[in-house]
Symmetry: C2
Subunit: 284 residues, 2 copies
């Protein structure tokens, strides 16, 4: 007799740990910019084009990843059709790879009663397993997300963009703001054990400092590939003492690896290359 | 001959200045929580219910306001139907009150290429006149919003929630973070003249400090009403030297003023009360 696990069995941290135990740390970012989708996969309408492209990328890379990440902005830009494509893509991943968690990269953050609505939209309506959020309003309103204990709540700590320094490296009593945020996350906000952080691969030193503060907490690494993050340094600085804790996201460099009809094969090639490079960095 | 202004004539700052010159500073926040919408206005489906409620509130208050603000979360929670209601509501305001700007309160903020998509979604797809954004990633990625020079870009400075202090009042070389953000906004980020700030009415002293830094920059005031901000102190601290610069938002206290069939009349009563209190504070 086959016993199907109920929906509530999808626990983000448990799913991640299982993928990590298989040596998978790569996360494919479905930042599916409509303008960059190859001609060969285009359909009649925007929804179908986005879904067809995403399915092809998912099919080509799904055995190599610890998670998929969908960046909400690239779907919101297309209104109803984009939202439908976002929902269908999450549904597709849950169906064909129920063991792979889905992160909604939405960088949400408002006061408590508003975050209740964002959390509902993310976890109940879209059925994502994790969401990225902003720390700027403090930990109190984020409780609306954290209280979904089986979901991951990934707090922005040090983002990958060049201009991130302007605010995130401001000196708070001699310590950069991103380290203060990391400490708040680790010591105060993680009551339900589901807090994670986002750190850009473009700042490997910051990543090492954050890891020293947060112990085994999962860290989503942004900016590998298109943003020229140094993969080797990133893995060395970011891996936890148990050899886990990393979700290494690459988006444009994988999904838009080629514009020809073999785009999915090219995406797999790039994903395999990154997977191998991560594995190599881990054993060196 | 009547000459209709083209769509591009909708300049957020110009529209605001015109409303301020009529003595209107109130902004009605359409945080239209489905669970709280009165029975008498409910329709067959969620979209229709949200739109019918919003139209009733808009019709009842439109001559008293300098802007309407829609909080994206309360629509996102309902997927396609919510998104359709959001778009229809913005369309309705633009149609019946083309002189009143619409703020999308979405608190977006990501890296540059992602913000390009959010800006498109906000200004082109939804046709909002302004949007709220987070400063955590610095000013550089916000340029994707700022470059729409006729749109308002409202940067979170000091939010209204109790827990806001935890990050926003951290001491950066002896100065609280929110003041550093205000200075960055005024001195560095406002190249296109369309930068605005958000400050919570629950922190009137912070508001005074911010006003001293930013001159005539428009400030969206959150937290009047349900969050018990002190209106008189807020107006005194927040008004600019030219007697302008404030967008005083109230949401729950107006739109859910009553649950009976006279809910729109009750909303108008509450809006009038706030409008009068603002006027009184201004002349005292």
């Amino acid at each position: 007799m086959v016993v199907c696990a109920p929906m509530s069995a999808r626990d983000f941290r448990v799913m991640l740990e299982a993928r990590w135990s298989e040596g998978k740390f790569l996360c494919v970012g479905l930042d599916s910019d409509l303008a960059k989708i190859p001609e060969s996969v285009r359909k009649e309408d925007t929804r179908q084009t986005l879904v067809a492209f995403n399915r092809a990328i998912i099919d080509a890379t799904k055995d190599l990843v610890c998670a998929f990440k969908l960046n909400s902005a690239f779907y919101e830009a297309h209104g109803d059709e984009g939202l439908a494509a976002l929902r269908e893509t999450i549904g597709y991943i849950s169906e064909i790879m129920p063991e792979v968690p889905v992160i909604l990269d939405a960088k949400r953050g408002d006061i408590g009663n508003t975050n209740e609505q964002y959390a509902y939209a993310t976890f109940k309506h879209l059925r994502a397993d994790a969401v990225t959020v902003s720390p700027y309003l403090g930990g109190e309103p984020l409780e609306a997300f954290f209280k979904y204990a089986d979901k991951g709540v990934i707090v922005l700590c040090h983002t990958s963009n060049e201009g991130a320094k302007e605010v995130q490296q401001l000196s708070v009593d001699g310590e950069p703001l991103y380290k203060v945020v990391a400490r708040l996350a680790a010591e105060k906000w993680n009551k339900h054990g589901n807090c994670c952080l986002l750190v850009g691969a473009t700042y490997p030193e910051a990543l090492g400092e954050v890891r020293a503060i947060v112990g085994e907490m999962p860290i989503l690494i942004a900016g590998i590939g298109a943003q020229d993050g140094d993969l080797h340094a990133t893995i060395k600085q970011g891996i936890s003492s148990k050899g886990r804790g990393l979700i290494v996201n690459a988006a444009r460099s994988i999904i838009f690896a080629s514009q020809d009809h073999n785009f999915a094969k090219a995406a797999r090639g790039k994903a395999q290359e990154l997977h191998d490079a991560i594995t190599k960095a881990l054993i060196q």
